[in-house]
Each structure stands twice: as structure tokens, then as C-alpha cells.
């Protein structure tokens, strides 16, 4: 076996998506990377697991039972731990294309994006309109409101931050999104689905924040561009589940010389003064052989927050329930996959409830099954099941439900420049990976002292190439 090198430019702890993207990018840029995970699989919190592993993780069965057996071959299941989709025109898609990781992963559209109006027995589910034409056909609005919505969407398409002629007489540096909505005379229900199902805000805080209207408009535009890219919804999803994403970027890193070690515990981080300068670690051997202990130096450490709990703080609690269904989501035209957003105002909450559905069309489960993940941010310290109840109501009959305690969301206490330890954030409650790629860029800036440019990343690197 090759010996561990005496020194690496970067040692990375955890093979979640954030860490693997960074590992891949840093390797392509010529850094010598050692990438370690304490688990025996890739993905950390962003892994996809089979149904046996899921049952064992949640332990919701009696001793001696093997409830996963009635769901066919365990390995036909790839169940995400994080309920997210990729925006078709989002930054993760851009990074995947720039790095050619698309060679290893195939994607499929998510079939529809839906929003709930009303609650309880009166709740209705409708498709989120993505362009002016769909707005006119939408059941979400009355006839006059449709026209107002159409002119709003058309304006969003022509809006330019720098061209004040496109600002409709508003001072966008100081006005709020409420002012913009008022300008178009949009009704409360319309504002609700624009803000929550198109701009994908999880709370209503954005409405009264001064000067942020251009951000909101860009989020709506990202939604619209993402829909128009493939046609049905703004989202795409990798076949075999989200766990393919970290694996793909890990492979990219390995191709450019990155060294991968799973099943490896970090025994000690070595410091000189305040700065981390190396690690001691032990690779376990599944075959029962002697563990391999090693020490190596490094210039910096990148890690997910679980490796440095003392250097991270909790910013919120995510509630999540993974549900196995044997039918599609009601009100979604029997789609094989969908996102359904229940805006907070419709069910008397402060945070939206999200439902993400995928199925055998994405090779994540056997035919006839659907995996629905219901999630939101916790607003109470108990009764978490009740907080998700409006989501469960949408699912109809549920075959299995996996719901653990609230999941703490971490972010680093410091930037990392003082101790050479650069820590990522947890995967948040948003429905997509835009905040994950923001975090990738932020960590890259902190660790490398410059902005990450992914366009043309692989150009000029000297590799044996395809064909």
C-alpha cells in the first residue's frame, strides 16, 4: 500500500457535498488533497442510503423483525437524507458542467412544482406558474389578478439592476418588495406564492427588508430561467439519488491526485500555536486487520461541522420525516416527482413546509413506490410531529414514516483564518443547493484568499483526455 505522504496542502474531513466540491476544485487547481471520512461510505449528511440502513438508522421496528424485507432488494433503494433538488440554471449545475462531473451522473427533470393554498379541508394544490402564459392559465388567481401577475412576470424578465429605466419609478436601493408588489397591485395570495414558491423564501421577512427587492427579483428570475431550461419544473435530480453528487466530485478530486480514505477516525489535530498544522488519524480495516495509524502535516483543514463541534454554533433545528408511499402525491397529475410548498401563512406558521417527492423514475426505489420527505424549520420545542402535520395531510396513506429528533443546523463560529480550520455549514432547509454552493464559495474565499472561478476550470490542466 502506498504510504501516506508526509505533507498535504489540504486535508478535508467529511465527504458531504460541500467538502467534495471543494476537494474536487482544489485538486483540479493543483493542490495535494487528502480526504477523510469517519464513515464507511461517501456523502456524510448528504448521502443516500438503502431502506435497510434507513430502518436501522431510525430504529423504528421491534427487535428480531426485518421490516425492510417487504420492500424488495434493499439496494434498489437510494433514500436521500437531505431533501433537496438542483435548480436547472443554478450554481451547482454550473459547477457540474464546468468540472465535467456530468460525465459520471445522469439527471432527470423533477416533473412539477406545486404550491398549496388554504389549509385543512379547504386546501387546494396548484402548479406554480413559471411564465406569463402559465400565469394566465393558472387556477391560483382570478381573471384580473392573472393580468397583474402577467405584467409582473414580464417586468421581472426585463428588469436590470443597473438600468433605472427598468425600475418602474421605484428607488430599488431603498424600497421594499412590498413596494414592488404594491406597484403591481398584487393580492396577498399572489405575493405568497411568488415569495415562497418562486423566490423560494421560507419566511416573510424578505417583504419589508429595504433594498433587497433586486435580490428577490433575481431569485424569481432564477426560478423562471430554471423552468425554461428543460420545461416542466425548475428542478433536476440525479438518477440514484443525491448521494451521487459527492461521489462524483470525489472522483474528480481523485482523478486530479486526491487521496481518499473512508473508515478513518481523526485522533488528533496537531497545532503550532493557534494554527492547525497536521493530523493524527487511524484507518479502520473492515476485513478485521490491524488499523493503520498515521500522522501527516497539512497547510489547512477543511471540515464539516460534525468534526469540530466546539467551533460551530446551532442556528436552528430542522424537522424532517422521510415517508414511503405507494401512490403519487394527490393533486400533482400523478407526477413521478414533485416539489410541493405549503407557504407558512396558509397554515399559520412562520416557516414554510416543503414536500419533496421522487420515485422509481429516478432509480431511488422499486417501481410503484414514492419517497416523500416532509420538512420545515422547528418553531416549537415539542410537538414536532404536529408541526409537520399539514405536510402529512397532503401525502394520504403512508406506508412507512421515519422521523427522528430535530436536526441541529450548524455554522462555524469563526472564518478559519486564525486556526487554518475552515468549517462548512449544515445543509439548510431550503429546497435546493444554492446556499450550499454559496457556502462552497465562501469557504474557498476564506481558505484561498480569492474568489472561486469555475468557468473554464479544467482548461489548461494537462491531463490524458477523452478521445
Amino acid at each position: 500500500m502506498d504510504e501516506i505522504a508526509p505533507e498535504y496542502d489540504v486535508v478535508v474531513f467529511g465527504t458531504g457535498l460541500t467538502e467534495c466540491v471543494l476537494s474536487g476544485v482544489l485538486s483540479v487547481k493543483g493542490n495535494k488533497v487528502l480526504h477523510i471520512d469517519r464513515n464507511d461510505h461517501y456523502g456524510g449528511e448528504a448521502a443516500s442510503v438503502n431502506i435497510e440502513t434507513l430502518f436501522k438508522k431510525y430504529g423504528n421496528y421491534n427487535k428480531g423483525e426485518e421490516p425492510w424485507k417487504k420492500y424488495g432488494r434493499a439496494n434498489d433503494w437510494n433514500i436521500d437524507l437531505v431533501p433537496k433538488f438542483l435548480m436547472s440554471s443554478g450554481e451547482l449545475t454550473n459547477i457540474l458542467v464546468s468540472t465535467d462531473v456530468t460525465k459520471y451522473i445522469e439527471f432527470k427533470q423533477v416533473a412539477g412544482s406545486y404550491v398549496q393554498q388554504g389549509s385543512g379541508a379547504k386546501a387546494t394544490v396548484a402548479k406554480v406558474p413559471s411564465d406569463a402564459g402559465e400565469a394566465l392559465r393558472s387556477s391560483l388567481m382570478g381573471i384580473f389578478e392573472k393580468r397583474r401577475m402577467k405584467s409582473f412576470i414580464e417586468w421581472v424578465g426585463t428588469f436590470s439592476r443597473t438600468d433605472s429605466a427598468s425600475h418602474k419609478g421605484l428607488n430599488l436601493n431603498t424600497c421594499t418588495m412590498k413596494d414592488v408588489y404594491d406597484k403591481f397591485g398584487l393580492e396577498a395570495g399572489t405575493r405568497d406564492f411568488i415569495g415562497h414558491a418562486m423566490a423560494l423564501y421560507q419566511t416573510d421577512n424578505y417583504i419589508n427588508e429595504k433594498g433587497t427587492a433586486p435580490d428577490t427579483i433575481e431569485r424569481i428570475r432564477l426560478y423562471g430561467n430554471s423552468v425554461s431550461r428543460y420545461g416542466k419544473s425548475p428542478y433536476i435530480y440525479p438518477l440514484y439519488g443525491l448521494g451521487e453528487l459527492p461521489q462524483g466530485f470525489a472522483r474528480l478530486s481523485a482523478i486530479y491526485g486526491g487521496t481518499y480514505m473512508l473508515n478513518t477516525n481523526i485522533d488528533e489535530v496537531l497545532y503550532e500555536g493557534n494554527k492547525a498544522v497536521g493530523i493524527k488519524a487511524t484507518m479502520q480495516d473492515k476485513g478485521g486487520d490491524e488499523p493503520m495509524k498515521f500522522t501527516t502535516k497539512c497547510k489547512k483543514i477543511l471540515a464539516d461541522p460534525s468534526y469540530f463541534p466546539g467551533k460551530a454554533q446551532v442556528t436552528g433545528q430542522l424537522l424532517k420525516a422521510v415517508c414511503i408511499l405507494n401512490h403519487p402525491l394527490a393533486g400533482t397529475d400523478n407526477c413521478d416527482s414533485a416539489q410541493l410548498i405549503i407557504p407558512q401563512s396558509q397554515v399559520g406558521r412562520k416557516h414554510d413546509i416543503y414536500i419533496a417527492v421522487v420515485s422509481s423514475a429516478h432509480n431511488v426505489c422499486p417501481k410503484g413506490y414514492y419517497i416523500a420527505i416532509v420538512s420545515t424549520i422547528a418553531e416549537t420545542t415539542a410537538n414536532h410531529h404536529l408541526e409537520l402535520a399539514p405536510g402529512f395531510e397532503r401525502l394520504g396513506r403512508i406506508e412507512e414514516k421515519f422521523m427522528g429528533p430535530p436536526i441541529p443546523l450548524y455554522e462555524p463560529l469563526e472564518s478559519g483564518v486564525n486556526d487554518n480550520i475552515f468549517i462548512s455549514k449544515s445543509y439548510d432547509a431550503t429546497s435546493h443547493f444554492e446556499t450550499t454552493t454559496d457556502d462552497v464559495r465562501d469557504i474557498y474565499r476564506r481558505a484561498e484568499g480569492q474568489d472561486l472561478v469555475v468557468d473554464g476550470l479544467r482548461e489548461g490542466t494537462n491531463l490524458v483526455n477523452d478521445e
Binding site: M1, S89, I105, A361
Partner: protein, 239 residues
């Protein structure tokens, strides 16, 4: 970007099919060298551990009407600490498991096989590692994957017969028992390299269309390209 066209097609009498082939085996047995010989007809004695050559393609014409394209995945070194991802094995149609016929005890994998060494003779160690990889393939890959066993570095033995550590008959017997194709190869002299891939090509199910991606086969996958809104059309929707 790799060709993502139809994985299998038939025009008139001619057939074209594309298959994913994965390489397995310990470090330094010559996995990449075999591929480099097959794809580029090159050899480099001082080749470093695999960097960069992780995705190559090569076509073979079986006859005037039949072309097979291999999409070859190299381990990119992730086998070194047993960290190959499930993605690597996913939908592989065929595999080449490589061992070094001159290595009684491979220089790599010193931890993995200590126990094995006590049970079997030292002479068998290199082949035993190949057997482990075959087991791993049977655990992780498609049931009907076609596996070829390749004993590499035949040139060293041709020059100096006493360098041989694994007898041809032993490997052959194992391959027959396990249902594997078997060749002794030399990436250096090219001996049996083309034969190895040709025999795999002949065994592949050419008539089952869409071998490369039985997973998505026309069910509406999308191809990711740089953002040019409006130019992409998704496939037909199944819902």
C-alpha cells in the same frame, strides 16, 4: 463531455453498442497501462499512479457490421485505501480484474491480506487479491456483469521465466470455476491486450439495446450543458 447518444443502435445491417467497463485490481499491477495500450497503443515504464486518465473510450469492430464502444473507467487511485464509490460499479457491463503474475506478495495492500497469507501459500497472494476484487464486483455490480481476469506483466516472465510467481494453470482453473474470461497480458509488448478486450466485446449482449444506460434509457433524462436557456428540450415525460 462523453457521448451520451443512444447507447445501442442499429442502422441497416450495422450494429453499434456502447458499454461501461471498469478496471479493478491492486495498485501498481498495471491497470492503467493495459488501458493506455488498448486506447492509445502507448506504454510508459515509469508511469506514476493514475492521475487524470480516468475516463477513456475505445471502439472495437467485431466484424464489418458490428462496432462496440467501451467507456473505460479507471479507479483514479480510489482503490488504494478501499474507497471506491458505489458510483464506480454502477451499471458496469464488464470488468477487467488485473493482477501481476510476477508478484507473490503485492507491494500494495499490506494490511488487507495478512490473514489470507497465513491460510494460503505466499505464492497465491497476488491472485487471491484478484479473487477479492471479483467478490467485490459480484457484491456491488450488476448480476450479469462480464468479468475478465488479466494476469499482467507477461513480458517480465518471457524475459526471465523464474520471475513468474503465479502459475498460468492455477489462474486458469480459478477463472474457469468462477466463469471469468482469462488472459495473461503484457501492456508493455501489447501481447494479448487487444485479444482481452475483443473477447469481452464478443461476450457482451449486443442485441439488448441501450446497454450503457439501462437505467434511464429514453425515459426523459436531461443533458446538462452550459446555460443557454431555450435550446434544451427535455425528453418525453413519463407522467
Amino acid at each position: 463531455m462523453a457521448s451520451r447518444g443512444p447507447a445501442g443502435s442499429r442502422v441497416g445491417n450495422s450494429r453499434f453498442a456502447q458499454f461501461k467497463l471498469v478496471l479493478l485490481g491492486e495498485s501498481a499491477v498495471g491497470k492503467s497501462s493495459i488501458v493506455l495500450r488498448f486506447v492509445k497503443d502507448q506504454f510508459d515504464s515509469y508511469r506514476e499512479s493514475t492521475i487524470g486518465a480516468a475516463f477513456l473510450t475505445q471502439t472495437i469492430s467485431l466484424d464489418d457490421n458490428t462496432t462496440v464502444k467501451f467507456e473505460i473507467w479507471d479507479t483514479a487511485g480510489q482503490e488504494r485505501y478501499k474507497s471506491l464509490a458505489p458510483m464506480y460499479y454502477r451499471n458496469a457491463n464488464c470488468a477487467v480484474v488485473v493482477y501481476d503474475i510476477t508478484q507473490a506478495v503485492s507491494t500494495s495492500g499490506r494490511l488487507w491480506e495478512l490473514e489470507e497469507l497465513e491460510l494460503t501459500s505466499h505464492i497465491q497472494a497476488s491472485l487471491d487479491k484478484a479473487k477479492q476484487w471479483v467478490k467485490e464486483l459480484q457484491r456491488q455490480a450488476n448480476e450479469n456483469i462480464i468479468i475478465a481476469l488479466a494476469g499482467n506483466k507477461l513480458d517480465l516472465v518471457t524475459e526471465q521465466p523464474d520471475k513468474r510467481a503465479i502459475q498460468t494453470a492455477d489462474a486458469e482453473a480459478y477463472a474457469r470455476e468462477a466463469g471469468l474470461l482469462f488472459f495473461e497480458t503484457s501492456a508493455k509488448t501489447a501481447e494479448n491486450v487487444r485479444e482481452l478486450f475483443t473477447s469481452i466485446a464478443k461476450k457482451l449482449p449486443l442485441d439488448q439495446a441501450g446497454p450503457r444506460n439501462p437505467r434511464s434509457g429514453g425515459r426523459g433524462g436531461v443533458e446538462l450543458r452550459p446555460d443557454t436557456p431555450g435550446t434544451q428540450a427535455g425528453g418525453p415525460c413519463s407522467c
